[in-house]
């Protein structure tokens, strides 16, 4: 909402010394937040003064143009008092006219600096301005096609600042109006708060002597009283459709952000801004019979003022005449009864509409109009008659119309409900001493009618209650706590003291929260950068991953209103966007990207029902709450890792190294170790990984994720460096597998026995399998085992490999004898031979 300061001051008698800044500070503290202060003349600096044209010599030029060589009286503004010589190309003025002169040193909008300069054989010392040159609408002040000629009766003397006359010194305040403060969408409401803030006198533009309602006006039938509690109709005749909107009104409308259209329309808009009450004007000659307020019937059609043909719903409230719907009530008028350049009789509608209906209709038809904005927030129902009367007055005054007899008023202003609070509620909620008198004064200040009820409770303690009836312009005030806010608004939010609540006995971070921090630190410590990606994907991303048509990861939670039609789904896997992120880094010149993300994905739940909408006047039952939770997709926390390109840098130490399958699996192993989880790495085939270089990551027999090198086609599809590797796992599940209590080993100080064994096995026997056999075969004397070499040779044969393991054997209570060591070693080798066909090399 934009409001010129002079307009605000029309209704509140603020002391002259109250600056615009002081005004906005106060209004901000009252809840009308300052967004910006602008001034139409802000871009003009230097002397811009009234000038009287003394002489005007028309001088034809070689180029066919005629210029005017003028002398202009600019008073003392030029420092000499002598007439100012100015060349002007416009012709809509003559000697004796008052014009706007910008003198040398002045700067016009667009940074156009004025100086004395030689032109057409004269020294032109200044410029006679047009409206456009001053940043005003081109036709403002009758200036269309020429310079501004000020009215002859202007009180200003040559040489005086012309800005006030043109409204260029006006300051326009833009407010951010919260949806509960409908009154803030009117000058009336803003001025009322200003009056409250400065304890200044307020003159209510709706406080008018109104003609009595009668039956002589245009007939109106309200069939839906709940939807339309008050309907006021007035008519004027003899309106001059050629009458122009006066400059003062046009500039105020412009300042408020509305475009002047025609006098009749401008008057309705002006009164809406003034009172907050949306008004609709009909060409009375085009209305057939009584106005009828009713719900539309299904399929009824209406072409609204914006030219859109709309199909109505039975929930839309319409105004109909004998021809059918002629307006979408409170939201937008219809085309057939629109006022035009030939309208001479105007039917003025000023009605109060039920806000929810307005909101729904606006939403259904996607109409956001100034009228709708006010009606859906709730305008003051008591303002209907006054606003209509004000429109009639202006149409008569400015458009030469005559008010027709007859004032139609249907319905009555609904009485706001009284709200009762304990007198000390404001002080308890605010945590600030507010005595009863202060609370009462504050509530009365905002327009409530307050009754103080003193009672003595059963315990003999006197308790005061306040019964407050909110004013009609505050439909948002309905609850006890609304009254508290009103009191606090007046007392001042800045008065609330700063007090820490008591110490809470919290249980610290949850286990999952602690482990997640651990995971993040581990991965960062491994040289990975954490990234945050959007969760949106499209099927094309799954195609790039090479997922089969029936891959479960393709079935997603879909968005009804995605930002992009390319990515209308909530992802089931972190990989697509993570791979894109890695590729972006490489595209930006990084030699490699090692990135990770932890985020939830969404897995649709088979057969999940809708999430019910429960009433809110009571808590849903446990079963109902469960039903809400069960309606949501599963949202496990995933970890995604992509390792692409340089993993170790080249340097003076030697060669660098690109990331490969082993790096991805190493990350998984490192994480498992950090969490104390026994991770089993098993060869697996799964997109988007290389079928020969993909591992399933298993814990307790359950696959929690996969890691390895990406399929070459995927690498290519995402434009990644060759051999890029990735990991994705269910982090929730991995963390859940972490032991709750660590069991540390007993540390033996007896000597260790080291035994190396080299075993030849078939190429397709996994090392992990051989290791497991050795481990089991060695028995409990085995302290650790580690594969330290893989060897292939012609001698072994192309389908064989030799695996060398280092075994460390130790007992907790004695030094092992040679026999014991040999026994353990032989047992290990024997089991490896039995299980894996291993032979000693």
């Amino acid at each position: 909402m934009k409001a010129p300061v002079s307009w605000i001051r029309e209704y509140v008698d603020l002391p002259a010394e109250v600056t615009t800044e002081a005004l906005t500070d106060k209004l901000t503290l009252l809840g009308l937040k300052l967004e910006a202060i602008e001034s139409p003349g802000a871009a003009i600096t230097g002397p811009l003064v009234v000038g009287r044209v003394l002489t005007q010599d028309k001088e034809p030029q070689k180029n066919g143009k005629t210029i005017n060589w003028c002398t202009v009286d600019v008073g003392d503004a030029n420092g000499t008092g002598e007439p100012q010589g100015i060349v002007c190309g416009a012709h809509n003025f003559g000697p004796g006219d008052l014009v706007c002169v910008v003198l040398p040193g002045g700067v016009l909008p667009g940074g156009f600096a004025i100086s004395a300069r030689k032109t057409y054989g004269h020294v032109s010392a200044g410029m006679i301005c047009s409206a456009a040159e001053l940043g005003l609408p081109e036709d403002a002040f009758g200036g269309a096609g020429g310079i501004i000629v000020l009215p002859a009766d202007t009180a200003l003397q040559p040489g005086s600042d012309v800005r006030p006359l043109l409204g260029l010194d006006e300051e326009i305040i833009e407010f951010e109006v919260n949806p509960d403060r409908a009154y803030g969408l009117s000058l009336r409401g803003i001025a009322r708060d200003a009056a409250l803030g400065f304890s200044a006198p307020f003159s209510d533009p709706c406080d008018r002597v109104l003609p009595a309602a009668d039956d002589a006006g245009h007939p109106v039938v309200v069939e839906d009283e709940a939807g339309c509690p008050v309907f006021v109709a007035r008519t004027v005749a003899g309106f001059d459709p050629t009458a122009e909107t006066p400059d003062w009104m046009a500039s105020r409308l412009t300042a408020a952000g509305m475009r002047p259209i025609s006098l009749a329309v401008d008057v309705t808009n002006y009164v809406m801004l003034e009172t907050g009450r949306p008004i609709h004007g009909y060409d009375a000659e085009k209305v057939a019979g009584a106005l009828r307020v009713r719900r539309a019937t299904v399929g009824e059609k209406l072409t609204t003022l914006d030219g859109t043909a709309r199909v109505l719903s039975e929930q839309d409230l319409v105004i109909a005449d004998d021809s059918g719907p002629i307006g979408l009530a409170g939201v937008m008028g219809g085309e057939t009864t629109e006022m035009s350049a030939s309208t001479t009789r105007v039917l003025v509608e000023s009605a109060h509409w039920e806000p929810v209906s307005m909101f729904r209709t606006g939403k259904r038809h996607k109409i956001s109009s100034e009228a709708g904005k006010r009606n859906e927030r709730g305008a003051d129902p008591a303002s209907c008659e006054a606003a209509a009367d004000r429109v009639v007055e202006l149409l008569c005054e400015l458009g030469g119309a005559t008010a027709e007899p007859g004032v139609t008023v249907v319905g009555s202003v609904p009485a706001p409900s009284a709200i009762t609070i304990a007198a000390d509620l404001p002080q308890r909620v605010a945590g600030l001493p507010i005595d009863t008198a202060t609370a009462v004064a504050a509530l009365e200040g905002v327009g409530c009618t307050v009754t103080l009820v003193a009672e003595v409770g059963e315990d003999g303690v006197p308790t005061n209650r306040l019964v407050a009836v909110p004013p009609t312009w505050r439909p948002d005030v309905t609850d006890p706590f609304d009254l508290v806010e009103e009191v606090l608004r007046v007392v001042g939010y800045d008065q609330v003291p700063s007090v820490l609540p008591r110490e809470a006995a919290g249980r610290g971070l949850t286990r999952s929260q602690r482990l997640r921090r651990r995971v993040g630190r581990t991965l960062a410590g491994a040289g990975l950068s954490e990234v945050v990606c959007f969760p949106f994907v499209g099927q094309a991303a799954f195609d790039k991953l090479g997922l089969e048509a029936d891959d479960p990861r393709r079935s997603t939670v879909r968005l009804a209103n995605p930002l992009s039609n390319e990515e209308p789904e909530y992802t089931t896997t972190l990989l697509p966007n993570l791979l894109g992120t890695a590729a972006r880094n490489v595209a930006r010149g990084a030699a490699g990207a090692a990135v990770f993300e932890t985020a939830t994905v969404a897995i649709p739940r088979e057969g999940a029902g809708p999430a019910p909408i429960y009433p809110t006047h009571t808590r849903p039952t446990e079963a109902e709450v469960e039903q809400l939770f069960a309606a949501l997709p599963a949202q496990p926390l995933h970890l995604g890792v992509v390792l692409a390109g340089e993993r170790e840098r080249a340097g003076w130490w030697g060669e660098g190294r690109a990331a490969d399958w082993a790096d991805a699996i190493a990350v998984a192993r490192r994480l498992a170790t950090e969490l104390g989880v026994d991770l089993e790495v098993v060869a697996s085939v799964r997109q988007p990984w290389h079928p020969g270089r993909c591992a399933a990551l298993r814990v307790g027999g359950r696959t929690l994720g996969h890691a390895g090198e990406l399929h070459p086609r995927v690498v290519k599809a995402f434009d990644l460096p060759a051999r890029a590797a990735a990991l994705e796992l269910d982090l929730d599940a991995l963390m859940a597998a972490a032991p709750e209590r660590a069991v540390p080993p007993t540390l033996s100080t007896y000597p260790v026995a080291k035994e190396d064994v080299a075993l030849v096995v078939a190429e397709d026997v996994p090392a992990a399998q051989v290791e497991a056999a050795l481990r089991e075969g060695a028995g409990e004397l085995l302290e650790s085992i580690r594969l330290f070499d893989v060897y292939r040779s012609e001698q072994l044969g192309s389908d064989r490999k030799s695996l060398a393991f280092a075994l460390r054997l130790r007992a907790g209570d004695r030094t092992l004898t040679d026999d014991e060591v040999k026994g353990a070693r032989d047992g290990a080798v024997a089991l490896a031979a039995e299980r894996c066909g291993a032979t000693q090399r």
Binding site: V499, V532, R647, R649
Partner: protein, 365 residues
Amino acid sequence: MSGPNTEYDPVEVTPLQAEEVEAARDAALAAIAGASDLEALKQVRLDHAGDRSPLALANREIGALPPQARKEAGQRVGQARGAVNKALAARTEVLEAEHEERMLIEETVDVTLPTDRVPTGGRHPLTTGAELIADIFVSMGWEIAEGPLIEAEWLNFDALNLGPDHPARTMQDTFWTEPAENHVVLRTQTSPVQARTMLTRKPPIYVACPGRVFRTDEYDATHSPMFHQVEGLVVDEGISMAHLKGTLDHFAARMFGEGIDTRFRPSYFPFTEPSAEVDLRCFVCRGVDSDACRTCRGEGWIEWGGCGVVNPRVLVACGVDPETYTGFAFGMGIDRSLMFRHGITDLRSFFEGDVRFTPAFGTEL
């Protein structure tokens, strides 16, 4: 190797004569002094203190002397050997020191060489920032509550006094999941965690909820369809707006520096009443000579978030007795807070995943 020579006349044993012993000793001492390095000294040790050195050989002859002569000869040889060993030890020490000094010089490297073999990793500032915030509240005895990003409409809106026709719903452009009649949304705020918390536990409740939220905002330097908020909720007996102010002042000081406090302005949120916008005192200019301050653009204050006293309607919908309990709630953007905390001008920096971004936050957050 031979045993002691018992056949000679003791007087005839030349090596044991005083001059001989002295000469051997002096030769040894001279050789020791002349050894220029440990290698040379090793040879000197062999030659003059080894098994075949003159003094060792002389020592072996002592046994062949008549008992009465042994003592004197033994003393003589023993003193000589002692002097040689002592000189050896001293020389060794000197040469070892010299050697070490030389070695340390020779092994000098250029410590300014790069050592960045494995690129540095880093955690995302949104993660560490959320942890910083969590730690501030946990240290006050609060707990950190969480909820799903895909949420029931009722929890995201209705339970928070945002009925289906509430004008405030248009302020939040919601992502709906298909089919819309299933009433499941991407949460537009962390506030549904408030509702979940009240539905699943009894007061007193002191929780903070940092998390990810979604709105249908086009992606640009200051808007993103996904961003992060932290929500706070307290429900207890006797809670007032003053406690809210106290908590936010504390939070502000912990996150932005001692002396940074907050200011309340009336505002509107359906889930709180009274509601306030909370401004943060500019931590750069602290409101002094703000005009030139780029952080607060001359305001002296920075818009930080929204807050208020929990609307009793919300308490009722979530099963908390509004006669017994009052509460307060607040919410602010984490991304936004970090943007002005670190002077980040483009919101997209958080979501582009550029590996050059995160390391800058290293240990600070």
